[in-house]
Amino acid sequence: MILDLKTKVDKLGVEDRVSRITKRSLKSEAKLQGLKMILSMIDLTTLEGMDTNKSVEQLCYKATHLHQEFPDLPNVAAVCVYPNMVKTASNFLKDSKVKVASVATAFPSGNSSLEVKIQETKEAIFNGAEEIDMVISRGKFHSGEYNYVFDEIATIKETCGDKARLKVILETGELGDYDHIRLASEISIKAGADFIKTSTGKIKPAATLPITLVMLEAIKDHYYNTGKMVGMKPAGGISNSKLALQYLIMVKETLGNLWLDKHWFRFGASSLANDVLMQILKQKTGVYQSNNYFSKD
């Protein structure tokens, strides 16, 4: 495999572009439309050691009943859980349009053998996962073993086959420079990722606007070169509507109309949905409601 490592990223330039994007002003109809879009793009996530069947079921219930008073609002895109909770989630969601996503490949560190990772992926898919969120091997990446990282992704992609879409988590908080993030994005895309994703949510910093821009630009270059679309999922740290709208504006101005769709863009978040709901109600009624009106899980 020959990797195109030529593409350079200028940190200050990326941050300048981001600061200009964050100055866009969203009002009235466009804001409401954006908020609804965000809601439809959320991967409602619970990834805790203390997750139980009951807590996952509660989350699934929430995913399918976001706000009773406004049935015209879209549901979230997916529920994202650990592999051992996939069965619970998929049983609950089997009659809904909400997809079941599962982290796999020794999430969050990825420090395990390829065999274990393949097995875990297979199990998750067998139990009903329609989307697999894998992590790349950051240790191998930092030791320059890019081919290993590539092959691992390609193998998991092969395991997913046509049963599940593969999201590849770069864990950007552990990669350091934007040049590394760009390179990891290219490796993942070329190895067959359907989505590239910033973070596990376990490492800080998680998703940021500049990091997401670097990844969106890698996606754009891949589209220019091949005509193939790859999705993007920033995850972790996006907890309010204002920030989420800025992400969406960035997608609009970097990749354009095609990506403004839950099939190609997702937010990995747990508390974002409530804030979006609150803002939508504010847009519709003109007043903010107490957050006590929105169920926590």
Partner: protein
Amino acid sequence: MSSKIKSLKYNGKWDFSPSIESIENLSIQKEYQLFINGQFQQPLAKKYFPSINPSNEQQLSRIAKAESEDVDMAVKSARVAFNGQWGKISGKERAKYIYRIARLIQEKSKELAIVETLDGGKPIRESRDIDIPLAAAHFFYYAGWADKLEYAFPNRFPKPLGVVGQIIPWNFPLMMAAWKIAPALATGNTVVLKPAESTSITALLLAEIIKEAELPPGVVNIITGDGSTGNLIVNHPDVNKIAFTGSTQVGKSIMENISGTNKRSTMELGGKAANIIFEDAPLDQAVEGVINGIYFNQGHVCCAGSRLFIQESVYDVVLRKLKDRMQSLLVGNPLDKNTDIGAVNSKQQLATIQKYIDIGVKEGADIFQLNCELPKNGYWCPPTLFTNVSQSHSIAKEEIFGPVLAVQTFRTTQEVINKANNTPYGLSAGVWTDKGSKAFNLASKLKAGVIWANTYNKFDPTSPFGGYKESGHGREGGLHGLSPYLNLE
């Protein structure tokens, strides 16, 4: 890169709703007077000219036209102030006044930004985030120098020149006034300043600020009018220095006029800057820099990156990225917070830009323009670029002062240095490369006063600005900006 891939689409799916800056609490006077000797006064001949909002062609206000006797009065009051109190107070005291002006600009920044946008047509985003903050920053910066001139020029006994005449352009009205007035005051001179005919209002609001700051009468006089008023200042026998920012053509005629006199001069004139993208550059950021370089302020920027040189190996991909990026530029109401490209400053300037676009087409270059809806009234030009351009095309040689980019290619470093320097101008240049040594090499070979590496159109009061060749002489900003206002031994 495959050429079969469809272009990306950026509009029509989730477009921004209007987000208009409110002008409810704004009051623009029906008529503005001359600011002479600390007072607003009518011109002796009682002549006025209209100031037009270029985004809707409506008259905003009427501006006094200063004629010979008004100019004479302004220069006299500046002379009296120089010989009087202002010439005697310490640098520390001068600094207090300048700081006060800076703070008042900050306090009134919103009003100033809105008026700048109404009068000049530039997007509110730019006047709010760039013009007004930089104007305040310039006063703050030079206030700091006022009591340190002996340290800036050790053993050279710095002394002010006297009365300085300052003539500024319409592209950054308030900011240019700040660039001129702040160093002149810090060095102890007195000022007669004339803003451009089409954009006088913020300079007159600055006059109100100066009055509010209780600057002694006559230290700053702001008089309005057209080129003939400027001429009167240039030729007034009691003016010690002319500081001019504007076109090379007018700059040349000023130099002719003051030759044989003792008048000093600073000229900040036109440009035709090269923005150079090497194959190893961070391409997405370079494209953003090209956009900022040529479409900032509708291209009404003397240092605009109006000539783009792309290394051939990355030509296709850069051009594609550039065209896609252009699609998300929003052209329209300058008061809309999302507007990227506002109105062209005047009918006359629009005609000039249109003339060059026609020449470009006639000379055989390929035109690409953003396909967008333009408002019915007002003066508008969509972002434009030309490919298939060579050094000998008029659009690659002459300053257009509009949102028109001429794209050329190159193969080697030496080739692009030759091409970039092959111009009578030399104000600015941009270099995009990941290689530090290449950037420094270019910086030493390009004959331009300002060279940006991996960025473009970045301004700061601490950094000197000015040109080579027909782009002018003298520097504004930084320590270098002090000496043109001083007699040094």
